[in-house]
Amino acid sequence: MEPRELEILENVSELEQKALVSPNRQIINRFKKNKPAVFGLIIVLILVIVAIFAPFIAPYPYDKVNYKESLKPPSAKHWLGTDLLGRDVFSRIVYGSRVSLEVGIIAVAISVTIGVTLGLISGYFGGWIDALIMRLVDITYSFPFLLFAIAIMTILGPGLINVFIAIGIINWAWFARVTRGSVLSAKEQEYVLAAVAMGASPLRIMFKHIMPNVIAPVIVGTALNSGYAILAEAALSFLGIGVQPPYPSWGLMLSDVRNYITTAPWMTIYPGLAIALTVLGFILLGNGLRDAIDPRMKI
């Protein structure tokens, strides 16, 4: 059979399904069929479990210094070897997952709160408020992301909380733009007009009638942005202006060992792999959610 015909057959069976299955169930079913998406979800779940139970999973404390065991290659005692100070690399990666998860949740929560609020206001009221907020978005976009983050971190000073703030207040622009787009199209719907005609207050219309349209793209964006926020935190820590030692962040672990790649490659390979896998997990999850909720969504 031609691929075209197969596609049509698929569509027919989907139509039949729709008659029997609730919309939410359909989304779950479509998600389950998407193998990369399920793989992404598994990675994210593993990250969450490892971060929560880090003290039970890690064989050593993350800051246990042991000079006798310095720069040992992977072995039965130290699965992924030890670093300069003889600290167990595996344990440090396990604890490092906490930093990544926190960034993925808190930094993105800041972006979502600012972005969705400003996006709702901008799309709903229009006029000069819209123009003002959208110029702010343009300005935020016109700076190279990393340089902007470096500048903010220089002002705020290094530290994990400042990393949340820096990443959070750069990424909001993305959510504001997406939210505004959804609001603009939702505003034209008849039920919003009906609500206006019945005399509902702007706040009620915004949160009760328009907000639900915004949720789908924001959920997808949250998953994707968590991935990029984790990548950004690692980059800042790598440059030495993010998380400070001795607390292990994957990016920081990489910057410590830049000059030892010849003698101790295990110190470089595994933290990098941890970053790449985690970020990939979030991206696959985000893409999978988008395809399951609405494949035509432009994100």
């Binding site: 190279p144 340089l147 440059l239 790449a276 990939l280």
Partner: protein
């Protein structure tokens, strides 16, 4: 403007730890730091209009000179990276689009997603390890011969190549389902002609935007690559200046990059109009 808030006193950085208060005062006066902030700001704007970014606190050289020294090196790196991403990305995207839902398509899509998840600097270090140390094929870091350019530009291009490939694929698929493509096949045109003349030309429009915007972000985003490979470009200069609290370089450099961004945007708009004549009618 934000930089005046940065903790740390530039005068102290210049004079060193043992400076007397009189020396510090003299330096502050020379730099104009003893004036009220609005005067400093107006002075700065006035100079910018005359293309004078002031002098670097640390190197005692005009900032414009430092930026113009570093800019071509970053441009070299960024342009090589853009060439790689444009060529490889479009080829991979088209293959993926033509053979959609095949094994090759899945392979390209998944590896593109994986590539966008890899930290640039880690990739750089891995490239240094394998091609520089193990195989001894290419220089590990530094600036000079064309061979020095290869590893950093690959590291810099990887995630953008992935982005271009994914963009080309989705744009290709969108255009392939349009009526004029069906018409072209119905007329009996050979498949390659439909793919390259009919689909690709239309599918390229969003891809050109992505590549154009990427060139601008590469100019700044090269910080990590330049740091790993000791490439003396603008990203590394700005990064070092921030660590040294050399405000004139940071301000001048950021402003310079913002100008580059605007210019590149403008050029992309022109290319857009050439690719898609409909845009001229609307404008």
């Amino acid at each position: 403007m934000l930089l005046y808030l940065i903790p740390g006193d530039p005068a102290r950085m210049i004079a060193g730890k043992n400076a007397t208060p009189e020396m510090l005062q003299a330096i502050r006066h020379e730099l104009g730091l003893d004036q009220p902030w609005y005067k400093q700001y107006l002075n700065y704007l006035w100079k910018i209009v005359h293309l004078d970014f002031g002098n670097s606190y640390r190197y005692k050289r005009p900032v414009a000179e430092i930026i113009f020294d570093a800019a071509p090196k970053t441009a070299q790196l960024a342009i090589t990276a853009v060439l790689i991403e444009a060529i490889l990305g479009i080829i991979a995207g088209v293959i993926s689009g033509v053979k959609r839902y095949s094994f090759v398509d899945t392979l390209i899509t998944v590896s593109a997603l994986a590539a966008s998840a890899i930290p640039i600097y880690w990739l750089g270090m891995m490239l240094q390890y394998w091609f520089g140390l193990k195989l001894k094929l290419l220089p590990i870091s530094g600036y000079g011969t064309p061979a020095h350019l290869i590893l950093p530009s690959i590291a810099l291009a990887t995630s953008s190549t992935a982005l271009v490939a994914l963009m080309t694929r989705s744009s290709f698929l969108e255009v392939s389902s349009m009526d004029f493509v069906t018409t072209a096949y119905a007329k009996g045109l050979p498949k390659w002609r439909v793919i390259f003349i009919h689909i690709l030309r239309n599918a390229m429009i969003p891809v050109v935007t992505v590549i154009g915007l990427d060139l601008a972000s590469l100019m700044g985003g090269a910080v990590l690559t330049e740091t790993v490979f000791s490439w003396p470009g603008i990203g590394r200069t700005i990064y070092q200046a921030i660590l040294m609290r050399d405000a004139p370089i940071v301000l001048g450099g950021t402003l310079f990059l913002a100008i580059v961004f605007v210019v590149v945007n403008f050029i992309v708009d022109i290319i857009y109009a050439i690719l898609d004549p409909r845009i001229r009618l609307e404008a």
